[in-house]
């Protein structure tokens, strides 16, 4: 005799019930947890920007340590003195807005640090203008640093980061993160020993043209003493992730070049 659970009608009803139950369960969890998750993401973005700016709790050569969740909002207010949004089109900056001007420019505009770089990249690809957030802060030595977000592709998924530059576009801080690079290989872009190598590297040639930084194989400069070779040491077994880091630095930071040039002429 055919079992009850083998009948087609039963199978279809079971499938429908299962989909409804699982669907509502997931939707319920997602909507209940959304505020907490958004808040965590907001904190993370602020922590990342502050980290690149040098505001972190790193000790010695240990793991990366962000400022604590409790302090992050206050520190973000005091350490980031200005949040700019540059409107870029075809490699030129057509408009420079302060945070308030940006928020007033569009009803849907969110805080500059919440600007979705991925979406802006898509806008640029579609021929529209791209909003470039830039966070201005002061280092402990009293220099003005500019933190820019970058985003690109690793081996498996997205990689992104924040780079702090001084007025000569010399890297003064860097933070990289990834969505799904291989643990132990590509995921090591999030390690201090990789990120710290970027400190002090130049992005511009002496003539002032944009050159970028290559994540290079070959260990030519393992202690990374040479800061004007436009190279940092690559990670073993993570060629594609490393190339992705180099590519996003080249593509995204280049867009800020006109702004830094205008800083020069203004002085």
């Amino acid at each position: 005799m055919e079992k009850r659970t083998d009948k087609n009608v039963y199978t279809i009803i079971f499938a429908i019930v299962m989909v409804v139950v699982v669907g509502s369960l997931l939707a319920f969890t997602a909507s209940k947890l959304k505020p907490a998750i958004t808040e965590n993401e907001r904190i993370e973005k602020q922590q990342n920007i502050l980290y690149a700016l040098g505001v972190n709790e790193n000790e010695g050569t240990g793991d990366i340590a962000f400022v604590s969740k409790a302090e992050v909002a206050d520190l973000f207010k005091t350490k980031v003195t200005e949040q700019l949004v540059l409107e870029s089109k075809d490699g030129k900056i057509i408009k420079t807005m302060t945070r308030q001007e940006y928020l007033d420019s569009d009803e849907k505009a969110k805080e500059p640090y919440l600007i979705d770089v991925k979406k802006q990249q898509a806008n640029a690809k579609a021929g529209e203008s791209r909003m470039l957030p830039l966070f201005v802060g002061t280092s402990e030595e009293g220099d003005t640093y500019y933190v820019a977000p970058i985003r690109g592709k690793g081996l498996w998924d997205a990689i992104w980061g924040y780079v702090a530059l001084d007025k000569d576009m010399i890297v003064r801080g860097a933070f990289f993160d990834h969505a799904g690079e291989t643990p132990g290989l590509g995921a090591n872009i999030k390690q201090r020993y990789f990120m710290d190598d970027f400190y002090g590297e130049h992005l511009l040639t002496e003539a002032g043209a944009f050159k970028g930084i290559t994540v290079a194989k070959g260990n030519a400069d393992p202690k990374n003493n040479d800061k004007t070779d436009y190279e940092v040491d690559a990670l073993a077994g993570a060629t594609i992730t490393g190339d992705g880091v180099a590519a996003m630095i080249k593509a995204d930071l280049k867009l800020y070049l006109p702004y830094f040039q205008s800083l020069k002429t203004a002085n």
Binding site: T11, L26, T29, A36, P183, G184, A236
Partner: protein, 214 residues
């Protein structure tokens, strides 16, 4: 019969050695290759799989009499996926740091053939308590191999364990590096995980000849 009879205990101990999911059943190899370049990732993956397989086996076992046989594989897949997504969301809301570490594993857990294998081979035909023990046992067996492989790959490939340098500094040439020792970068590549698993299989079968097939 107590809650934890001899037969039940075997459900846990068997997969640890003579019926190990990786070295004997050769399941779950894909994730064993992907994430064992460092010990910490191996450990996190092991814990995640213990949780998902333990709970998943119980859920499937409870549903075993109502699941239509024609679509049972899809039902199993949905159960794993739902569990994993809920865990991921809860972690994102309440333990954000941990969820960042785990994000890579989410996809790998869903595709882990050990999970589907145990649902299909055990949970569909046994009660929840037995299924739970079987799930924990198999996940532990998987985890043990992961940790062994991770230990050797991180030690020989990067000279560290849990990210802490144990062999000295490769650039400053301290510790064993003073005597000309070099990290074997090849250990970081997935193929070396396969070779280590191969060596483990060899060691295990030469110790217990019963395991050798003709």
């Amino acid at each position: 019969m107590g809650l934890f009879s001899k037969k039940d205990a075997k459900l846990i101990t068997d997969p640890l050695a003579d019926n190990n999911p990786i070295t004997i059943q050769v399941l779950g190899i894909c994730s064993a290759l992907a994430i064992t370049a460092e010990l910490k990732a191996s450990l996190v993956m092991a814990i995640a799989v213990i949780f998902v397989l333990g709970v998943g086996n119980v859920v499937i076992s409870l549903m075993r009499n109502i699941i239509p046989s024609k679509i049972r594989i899809i039902v199993q897949l949905i159960v794993v996926a739902t569990l994993v997504i809920i865990v991921d969301q809860v972690l994102k809301a309440f333990a954000y740091e941990l969820s960042k570490t785990l994000s890579v594993f989410i996809g790998l857990i869903i595709t882990n053939c050990i999970i589907m294998g145990r649902f299909e081979a055990f949970a569909l035909g046994n009660g929840p308590w037995k299924a739970f023990l079987d799930g924990i046992g198999n996940a532990l067996g998987y985890g043990v191999i992961l940790i062994i492989v991770g230990f050797f790959r991180e030690l020989l490939g990067s000279g560290t364990l849990f990210g802490i340098p144990v062999l000295g500094d490769a650039i400053e040439k301290t510790g064993v590096y003073k005597y000309g020792y070099e990290n074997n970068g090849f250990m970081l590549m997935p193929p070396m995980a396969l070779i280590i698993v191969g060596l483990l299989i060899w060691a295990q079968r030469s110790k217990n000849k019963d395991l050798i097939e003709d």
